[in-house]
């Protein structure tokens, strides 16, 4: 299909009244979730996943994607006005955004954040559009050994980039694989590790797992520290940045866009890492690094652009390889599979409507977000005034209802609540749940590819060393695993950890 034909196809799908509606609901919910501290996009997507079963696959992906990139927009509002990040990717925006607000420049901070997010979000989609097709064509040549190499590398990168101890992140990833083993073996139909519980024969569902770990786990942690949010009393005037603001920010926005996009591709990297690295770079290239932390507009523009284009980058491994790079894309992968579609290189060629419809909806969604974020900022500020006790109550309520409606199963709710408690303990003991979710999604594919590779090679492990892509992936994997002993990699990880602190 020609490029223009593809775009026309995408436009015809995304511009239908129903899909425009789903896109709008998605970005609206995303902004709402982003504004509210303590609830992230994975929970919102997991909660909406059951409701997307009844609509067409492309509409479902348009809706769920809207939540994902919408949350990146909304997250900055709380960072700037309350000094509490709405999403983890907006943590760094607190540093200069809140200082700008204290100096009476909340308007330009919110304005440049929305504008930067719009530019980066749109450019990110352009990059996604141009890179996904050639990469998926390349990925068509991959066999099981290549997939084994890439999936193991993906998991190890996710643990390398995870917050806190890498050993704990590796444990989480391994535990994720262990959780995926519960249920029926896809190859020979044997039941594994169900301990006689019939409900586990289909495995541990993605919805209860994600809602429990990210939703209930987050609420239980939040309950401990809950208190009223003190919103900075400042007049929101002059939301459109002036010429000087633009002059100071445009370079940061463009750097953030490209950096964010490519970091978004990395498993476990995504929007959080992109925003931190962008902040570090902006501070380094600035002529006035001393202004950073005291209200430098570049410190808002760069990270906010980076975290938005990272959401577009995260779609690259999903659409080209069928491999998710974070918990959100893992849920999108789950949504596609529920609709009977196999994400991966073939998806773009066999179901171009899904990819191009989503791409065009992202352009439309970014325009919707700009409209939603600037004139409606006053409403989002009011959302922040919802008492946390009421917010937590409704999060728990929706977690229960959302899980129940997935399969009309009380057992799933029990599993979800159990994972909620486990997620709370993970937080307490410094374990990051993201590698667990990623691994639990990838593990069935990894197991299949590994067993297929060994069957093809008649038991020879050399198959992973004879293929250049598999070999390359394994070499990088080993280097990352031994990173604590490789000075340059150990230093990189320490820099990331320091930035995140």
């Amino acid at each position: 299909m020609e490029f223009i034909d593809c775009l026309t196809l995408g436009w015809s799908i995304a511009s239908s009244i129903s899909n425009l509606g789903y896109c709008f609901i998605g970005v609206l919910m995303g902004t709402f979730i982003g504004v509210l501290p303590g609830i992230g996009p994975p929970v919102a997507i997991a909660l909406l996943l059951p409701f997307s079963f009844g609509i067409s696959p492309v509409s479902a992906i348009i809706l769920l994607s809207g939540i994902y990139y919408g949350a990146s927009y909304g997250g900055s509002t709380t960072s700037i006005l309350v000094n509490i990040p709405g999403t983890p990717s907006s943590v760094v925006t607190c540093l200069d955004g809140y200082q700008m607000a204290r100096q009476g420049r909340a308007g330009p901070a919110l304005g440049i954040s929305a504008m930067g997010s719009f530019i980066a979000g749109t450019l990110g989609v352009v990059l996604l559009m141009f890179l996904a097709v050639p990469l998926s064509t390349l990925a068509l040549r991959f066999g099981p050994p290549e997939y084994v190499g890439i999936m193991i590398l993906g998991l190890v990168i996710a643990t390398f980039l995870a917050r806190g101890s890498m050993l704990k992140a590796l444990i989480m990833a391994t535990l994720g694989i262990a959780i995926s083993l519960v249920g029926t073996d896809m190859i020979n139909g044997r039941i594994r590790f169900t301990f006689g519980i019939m409900e586990l024969e289909d495995g541990v569902g993605l919805v209860p797992l994600v809602i429990g770990l990210f939703g209930i786990g987050e609420v239980l942690t939040g309950i401990e520290k809950s208190g009223e949010i003190d919103i900075l009393k400042t007049k929101l005037k002059g939301l459109l940045p002036n010429l000087e603001d633009w002059r100071n920010s445009i370079g940061s926005i463009l750097r953030g866009t490209f950096l964010g996009f490519f970091l978004g591709i990395l498993p476990g990297g995504g929007a959080v890492l992109a925003s931190f690295v962008s902040y570090g770079i902006e501070k380094k290239v600035s002529r006035h690094p001393e202004k950073f932390g005291a209200g430098a507009i570049e410190g808002v523009a760069g990270p906010e652009s980076a975290n938005n284009s990272a959401t577009a980058g995260a779609y690259i491994p999903l659409f080209t390889l069928g491999i998710p790079s974070n918990a959100v894309t893992a849920l999108l992968l789950g949504a596609l599979m529920i609709h009977g579609l196999q994400p991966g290189p073939l998806l773009l060629h066999e179901n171009p409507a899904i990819f191009w419809g989503t791409i065009v909806s992202m352009y439309i969604g970014n325009i919707m977000l700009l409209i939603l974020n600037l004139p409606l900022i006053g409403i989002w500020v009011k959302v922040l005034k919802i008492p946390q006790s009421i917010l937590f109550t409704f999060v728990i309520f929706f977690c229960i209802i959302g899980t129940y409606t997935d399969k009309n199963s009380i057992d799933d709710v029990i599993i979800m609540l159990t994972f909620g408690f486990i997620g709370y303990l993970f937080k307490k003991f410094g374990y990051e749940p993201a590698p667990l979710v990623l691994a639990s999604i990838l593990a069935p594919f990894l197991e299949n590819a590994l067993r297929q590779s060994l069957i093809i090679s008649e038991g020879s492990l050399l198959i992973f060393f004879n293929r250049p892509i598999a070999l390359g992936a394994l070499i990088i994997t080993i280097a990352l695993l031994f990173s604590p002993f490789i000075p340059i990699l150990a230093k990189r990880r320490k820099i990331i950890a320091k930035l995140e602190e």
Binding site: I171, A178, E224, I390, F392, F397
Partner: protein
């Protein structure tokens, strides 16, 4: 052995369960791996990582700090009861039906999380129960238990 050092033991225990379970499942051969192949690999890795974590915790005196600020008093006060109320909701869902159970769940959680006075939580829970009825039962046609009163 201190509390925070138990982390390694938990992983070793889970890993051991996987390894033992893998024996029953049949490992297969390297030419044709069986159902127990992946559990064996995963379990072994968990045991190894668990041992590494224990060694790490013993070596690092600051491990207690690294393992996070474990103050669970507030959890027992509210978090634990939130979980318990949620499990209670599941028990009562079949008996009371969706709407009544929703009302009670939201009301109990609001009171537990210290929403002051009685009227506000009552109004919030009542209106939420009605809204959720319209969203889930009328609009989305989700099949919820109706309970003994038949008003679910």
């Amino acid at each position: 052995m201190r509390f925070y050092q138990l982390g390694g033991l938990v992983w070793i225990f889970i890993g051991a369960i996987l390894v033992i379970g893998s024996v029953k499942l049949n490992w297969g051969t390297i030419h044709k791996p069986g159902s127990g192949f992946m559990p064996l690999l995963t379990g072994s890795l968990l045991v190894i990582f668990g041992i590494c974590l224990m060694i790490n915790n013993i070596r690092m005196r600051s491990a207690k700090e690294e393992s996070g600020n474990v103050t669970i008093r507030e959890f027992w006060r509210r978090g634990f009861w939130s979980i318990l109320i949620s499990f209670g909701y599941l028990l009562f869902l079949n008996i009371l039906g969706f709407n009544l159970a929703n009302f009670l769940l939201i009301f109990s959680l609001l009171k537990l999380l210290r929403v002051p006075k009685w009227l506000t939580p009552l109004l919030i829970s009542f209106s939420s129960a009605i809204v959720s009825y319209f969203i889930f039962e009328v609009l989305l046609k989700v099949n919820f238990p109706r309970g003994i009163f038949g008003i679910g």
